[in-house]
């Protein structure tokens, strides 16, 4: 019996392809002041990207001050005691670098890509604005108009984006993920210099940040530069635990409808309340990743094969799992109806595909394909060191260890068909969801 098992295991192992690791050459260390540092060497071109990830995002906005994390992100470009407004950006431009910043639910991130010999220079500037930001109303007030324009452009000019905000607001009954990252317009309009400085002093400190450096460098070079720059920044605060309000167990399927004369093409979107990588237990998050891929990732997915190709009632159908947040993940789907198909018909057909998956699970072939795509994706990912920096920063920011983040393909490899079916049964339950309907409306007769 034992001999037979050994014999049967051998060919199986031989057939199992090598599972790649993501950014296998990455390493990490911590400075005395608490700043975490990750280095991702990539020698292909003489350039380097630094990203500073603060463990603070829009979900940490005080109640009534939505948008302050993102507003502060803009204001971080307004200068310090030693480097007045515009000096940092002018210096980045002078050396031919690119820079930007972004805010998510859980993080605020500043990044520059520069010729490798200029890494120390931009580290010095970034370390300086970690502690020495100076703001006055002459800089703050026009920038508040800028973020209001940003909101008008991204959200208010686009009914689908407005509907997305309404879906999130309904999905999260208690947790701040229900508030838009950019903020609600009426609260953004009241944000002040003092709000920004209070937020800054609370969260911008080396012990609340992760530095990711990717490119033509090694760990030792980064360590020397980091100690000479960020290492000189004293701890400014002891960040409080990020205890956000938890969601109650959802009991009712919810639907929101936006009818607008600006809509010429109806569509629907849906989100389910699910765990994230940081909040999941066991292999649930990995199983949700595989589930999203099999259900609606690309033209080989079930929704595409059954609704777009087969029944021909949709022109597109897609599913995603965003598991990179701290407290909850987002399992979403969207679809556009084809021809005279109504959104109700389309939603019923989607529910049929999901019910079948919940009842009967997935096939071994589907699982094998998803795993193969993940293995290939890990190799393709090596082509973009900025992409790797982004991936590792996100993972570490939500509490994952570097080794665990690198082993992502192996974790997907461990997922079983039963894991996926169980995740579908538990989480793809309409009670956990909000469905958003985007519909045209005659200008004169709103519904």
């Amino acid at each position: 019996m034992i001999a037979a098992l050994v014999l049967s295991a051998a060919p199986l192992r031989a057939e199992t392809p090598a599972v790649p690791r993501i950014a296998p050459a990455a390493s990490e260390f911590t400075l005395d002041n608490g700043l975490s540092v990750v280095v991702v060497p990539d020698r292909r071109a003489p350039v380097v990207t630094q990203m500073v990830w603060y463990r603070v995002g829009s979900a940490d906005d005080p109640v009534g001050k939505s948008g302050i994390a993102h507003f502060l992100e803009h204001l971080m470009f307004k200068g310090t005691k030693t480097h007045p407004a515009g000096v940092f950006s002018a210096e980045v431009a002078e050396i031919g670098g690119n820079e930007n910043a972004f805010t998510t639910d859980d993080a605020t991130v500043y990044h520059q890509t520069v010729p490798k010999e200029q890494l120390g220079l931009v580290m010095g500037f970034e370390a300086d604005r970690m502690a020495n930001l100076v703001l006055d109303d002459a800089a703050v007030l026009p920038e508040r108009d800028v973020i209001l324009e940003e909101r008008r452009m991204r959200v208010d000019s686009d009914p689908a984006a407005q509907l997305g905000e309404a879906v999130d607001a309904a999905l999260y009954q208690r947790h701040p993920y229900g508030t838009p990252v950019i903020g609600w317009a009426h609260e953004m309009a009241e944000l002040s210099r003092e709000d920004a400085i209070t937020f800054y002093d609370r969260a911008y400190t080396p012990n609340n940040a992760i530095l990711v450096v990717a490119g033509d460098v090694d760990e030792e070079e980064v360590r020397v530069l980091a100690e000479a720059t960020y290492g000189k920044v004293a701890r400014r605060a002891a960040p409080a635990p990020r205890d956000r309000a938890k969601e109650p167990e959802p009991v009712a399927a919810r639907a929101v409808t936006l009818s607008d004369p600006r809509v010429a093409q109806p569509s629907l979107q849906r989100r389910y309340l699910v765990p994230s990588y940081a909040s999941a237990t066991g292999r649930e998050a990995e199983a949700l990743d595989v589930l999203a891929d099999i259900l609606g990732g690309g033209t080989e997915s079930r929704l595409y094969r059954k609704l777009v190709r087969g029944a021909a009632i949709a022109t597109s159908a897609g599913v995603w799992y965003s598991g990179s947040q701290l407290d909850y993940g987002s399992f979403g789907l969207s679809a556009s109806p084809r021809g005279a198909t109504t959104l109700d018909t389309l939603a019923a057909a989607i529910d049929g595909v999901i019910a079948d998956l919940r009842d009967r699970g997935i096939t071994e072939d589907e699982l094998a394909r998803a795993k193969r795509r993940t293995r290939a994706g890990a190799i393709y990912a090596q082509d973009s060191s900025r992409g790797l920096a982004n991936y590792l920063g996100t993972a570490l920011l939500t509490g994952e260890s570097l080794a665990k983040a690198q082993d992502y393909p192996a974790r997907i490899e461990a997922v079983t068909a039963e894991d996926v079916r169980a995740a579908a049964e538990k989480y793809l339950d309409l009670k956990r969801s909000v469905t958003g309907y985007l519909l045209p409306a005659p200008a004169a007769k709103p519904i």
């Binding site: 292909r44 071109a45 350039v47 992100e73 470009f77 980045v92 431009a93 002078e94 050396i95 031919g96 670098g97 690119n98 930007n100 972004f102 998510t104 639910d105 859980d106 993080a107 520069v114 010729p115 007030l141 026009p142 108009d145 800028v146 973020i147 209001l148 324009e149 452009m153 991204r154 208010d156 000019s157 838009p180 990252v181 004369p261 600006r262 010429a264 990743d289 990732g297 690309g298 080989e300 022109t315 597109s316 995603w320 990179s324 987002s330 084809r338 021809g339 394909r369 795509r373 993940t374 293995r375 994706g377 190799i379 393709y380 990912a381 082509d383 973009s384 991936y391 992502y408 200008a443």
Partner: protein, 445 residues
């Protein structure tokens, strides 16, 4: 189809947005100097530019046939675009579903797109699946099936996109700008076509376009990744060698942007979306590089342009503002745009026009010129960040008729630009101001 990889947060807001994407034309783009570009000529005489990079086991190929949507039948815009959606929907003995499944089995990424003047293809494959990836590409471009089911499905998908764009302020502005700049010319037609023209496109239209435009003499190829010249040559022959030598392209007349003035598109939206354009300089004009530098100072990328300072930084009128240069085979333009709250649209537009004329009459300061040159020279190398981007940058140079050694001396061209050059070029491009201004938004009261 696309390799699965964990995504970062989908909900985000950021400091700045790339202007090129917002403005509706591709900015003139640059590649980098550190790369060695090798000319590979296959046994059958097919040429490719190769950047061999063995560090990651993948191969990226970008290629283009000259002759894009401008080659659409005049009464049927949208043929090239629909063709780009149909080539991977079945070829040879593989119907749509089998073809797509095979790509997925191999984790090969294959896509096509129709530009104004070129039909683009991209292929990304791991080294271990390389030969079959190229073989699938060959079938897609030489024996596509154009079966009824995928054709109906793709037509409906394109139509859905057209309908959605018909109420999107940015799309409305870009289309109105193209139509006003180039009335009656192929450049003025929508690349996607209209609901009516897409409905009328047949299988024969697609096959006629393919036969007319897919040939060896109008083909440009760039390959980046883990492959050497000796291996690439025969692969080029196997993939593209059966195509005819020459295409049959319709002549496209030279054209200048029309003096159309202000075009108002009434649309109920909280912002005025503004796009403008005027005559530019063609790619081989000796003043092109000085004009490129002048444009950078006026409204180029980054946080240091005059428009960024005046419109955004000082007054908070907009999140995104910028300008760019566009070169076509038969036209040249400068263009730009912004989006601001509807009641301040006039103020923003006046400010932008003032800055355009001020640059034309006074030119930049020495300090501005210096900063711009430093940025443009230093940032050139940053265009190198992925195999796909290297390939697409080099392909753009190839299509512009710039030599294989352009990446090596491009920075010298920027360095050689003098203040007199920029003044002269700025006058030539910007003195007349925009010939067309499109404003999409609520009617000004």
């Amino acid at each position: 189809m696309t390799a699965m990889f964990r995504s970062a947060a989908v909900r985000l807001a950021q400091h700045s947005l790339a202007v090129a994407a917002a403005a509706g034309f591709a900015l003139f783009a640059c590649a980098a100097q550190a790369t060695t570009v090798e000319r590979v000529v296959s046994p059958k005489g097919i040429e490719a530019w190769l950047v061999e990079e063995q560090a990651v086991p993948l191969v990226a190929m970008n290629f283009a046939f000259r002759g894009g949507a401008a080659q659409d039948p005049p009464e049927k815009p949208g043929v090239a675009n629909l063709l780009s959606g149909m080539l991977d929907e079945g070829a040879g003995d593989l119907p749509s579903e089998a073809f797509q499944a095979r790509l997925d089995d191999l984790s090969v990424e294959l896509s096509f797109s129709a530009g104004r003047e070129a039909f683009f293809g991209t292929l990304r494959t791991l080294v271990e699946t390389r030969d079959e990836a190229f073989s699938l590409l060959k079938r897609a471009i030489t024996v596509p099936r154009f079966d009824d089911e995928p054709l109906a499905r793709m037509k409906d998908a394109v139509t859905t996109g057209i309908r959605a764009a018909s109420t999107d302020p940015d799309s409305l502005a870009s289309q109105a700008l193209a139509a006003a700049m180039f009335p009656g010319h192929p450049y003025g037609r929508p690349i996607e076509g209209t609901e009516r023209t897409v409905a009328a496109i047949t299988r024969d239209d697609l096959e006629l376009f393919r036969r007319a435009a897919f040939a060896r003499s109008n083909l440009r190829i760039v390959v980046v990744g883990a492959i050497d010249a000796k291996t690439l040559g025969p692969l080029l022959d196997a993939t593209f060698g059966d195509l005819p030598e020459n295409p049959f392209l319709r002549p496209v007349p030279d054209v200048k942007p029309a003096d159309a003035g202000l075009v108002e598109v009434a649309f109920s939206t909280p912002q005025a979306v503004i796009r403008f354009a005027g005559n530019g300089l063609e790619r081989h004009d000796p003043d092109f590089m000085p004009a490129f530098v002048a444009n950078h100072i006026l409204g180029g990328a980054g946080f240091s342009s005059r428009l960024y300072a005046e419109v955004r930084e000082k007054r908070g009128l907009a999140y995104s503002v910028g300008t760019g240069l566009a070169t076509f085979d038969h036209a040249a333009a400068f263009f730009g745009g912004t989006a601001t709250r509807a009641d301040r649209g006039d103020e923003a537009l006046t400010l932008i026009e003032t800055e355009i004329r001020r640059l034309a009459s006074e030119g930049p300061t020495e300090a501005e010129l210096d900063q711009a040159k430093h940025y443009l020279i230093g940032s050139f190398a940053l265009r190198f960040d992925t195999s796909s981007r290297i390939a697409s940058q080099l392909l753009a140079f190839s299509l512009d008729g710039l030599g294989i050694d352009y990446v090596e001396h491009r920075n010298d061209l920027v360095a050689a630009v003098t203040i007199e050059d920029v003044r002269r070029a700025a006058r030539r491009v910007f003195e007349a101001g925009p010939a067309v201004v499109v404003r999409v938004g609520p009617k000004p009261s």
